[in-house]
Symmetry: D2
Subunit: 160 residues, 4 copies
């Protein structure tokens, strides 16, 4: 995730992705930020605070999963046209170490881009001092809904 990535400041690239992210009430509520985008890649970060914890004071698995979910969904959405919608069909996540630290970083990427389905993966790292520690890894299936703009709320439920 280096040369191709655009920082979140570069508002021109992947406009439909940034706009969709901005409409996710949950990402704002968690304090999550879209920090980098590339073709088939997306990074999301969130800072630690008491509102995001599980019973030991670490980041809750739900926060880890939420930003992994959005990071894979938006990694996939970078490869879809602006007049389409993106839908997470399913994912699996393994928690490999406690998310104990000050910052959580999810990096999503597309493993295989089919017309209808994008198979994606995300790694989530927790920053503890200077170190980035892998705390979770996920594998997900994302669906493209062509011709259904993400902006207007659909009258009818999208039929998968």
């Amino acid at each position: 995730m280096k040369s191709k990535l655009h920082s979140a400041k570069n508002a021109a690239a992947f406009h439909h992705v940034r706009e969709s992210f901005a409409r996710q009430g949950l990402m704002k509520h968690l304090g999550a930020e879209l920090t980098a985008l590339g073709s088939g890649e997306c990074e999301i970060r969130v800072r630690h605070r008491a509102e995001l914890t599980q019973q030991h004071g670490y980041f809750h698995g739900g926060v880890t999963a939420s930003i992994a979910d959005s990071a894979t969904g938006y990694a996939a959405y970078t490869m879809m046209p602006a007049d389409s919608s993106v839908l997470a069909v399913e994912y699996k996540i393994n928690f490999v170490a406690p998310a104990e630290g000050s910052l959580l970083i999810a990096r999503g990427r597309v493993l295989r881009s089919g017309r209808t389905l994008k198979i994606c993966a995300a790694d989530v790292f927790v920053v503890n001092g200077k170190q980035e520690i892998l705390c979770a890894t996920s594998l997900s299936t994302i669906m493209a809904l062509p011709g259904q703009s993400d902006i207007s709320r659909p009258r009818h439920r999208p039929v998968k």
Copy 2:
């Protein structure tokens, strides 16, 4: 999930589970409530509000997954002694319908209770008018950490 279930008001039953839930900052931040507990069963509910949405205004998959995660974890924790800790190792979640409605209900249950690992499942329903619609289903692996009280924050990272 009928006769055996204790409402959240019955503070005597499963005290260690209720206490642990109360310490999860994220559950409070989402407005989630522990609404029922039984041996190997747990129900969590959360009301819709703008802070919990994805880009179309439905419940975000991260909210769905967060309460499914906690519901399976605490279903497992009802079957562990009070001086143990509970750890989600991994889960998979399938989103089977859009979470469009006013209320989200996660019902977790233990499928198989081993000494170290509990295999659990959750169904998540969205309430739309009078109807409960299945919107997600999950399958998870939960680990018991014996002799590590959930209350005091461990100095050292729990070693799986």
Copy 3:
């Protein structure tokens, strides 16, 4: 899985499903049989023999997963037209008890039937004496490929 189920002898029902199953070389190689079919339901059985074991002599997880995979795929295929193909996108399987016994039975069912995707689950039981013991449970995503008959081998790779 009661009243609606047709035994494997009832060759009239779900003809395209039976035909497709019969073309799976692996099912024959494992000695697996399609023992029941219903709308959105499928049962597959396989008898124990040394060729199907893991290192302790139990059924190998690969056998368990193979018949769970086919049982969910064909459960989904009962709900698709005969001129379509069926494709397993992904699944997750939890092994909840050792598959120690003389017979393995996978029962697949459709949880939610969308136009393109069918979300399915399977339970796998091992028969040990008179008892059926749950030894694995799975959750899978199955895709319908309309207008691509299952019979003729496609010239080009199906594009998901």
Copy 4:
């Protein structure tokens, strides 16, 4: 998977892993071979034949999953002492392209090695002409059962 890998001919390294693999009746029945081992790494290969196919003549997903399952399990087992047993708790597999080709190669690796649980991943490639094509990717949880030699069949069922 380069410098550290020992070819299957090097019988001295990881003796307990090779022995356990040799006792898996299913691997022999499929014609699968253990082709490389390293610390936390394992490669398994199987050649195409009619006995291993799904309905279109490609490798059946059950074969793909079986060798991915064994490759992750034995990758984990390289990091366990010889007097322990290895148990697959669960895995998820995504099929990202049809397994159309003459040879299937599963490469398993340990992502995180805890005392009790090893979190592992596998990529499965199909060889079509000269090209290796990624056809599946999996994520799994493997358990170590210390003090239970893999060789003797346990009298009692291993209690997880």
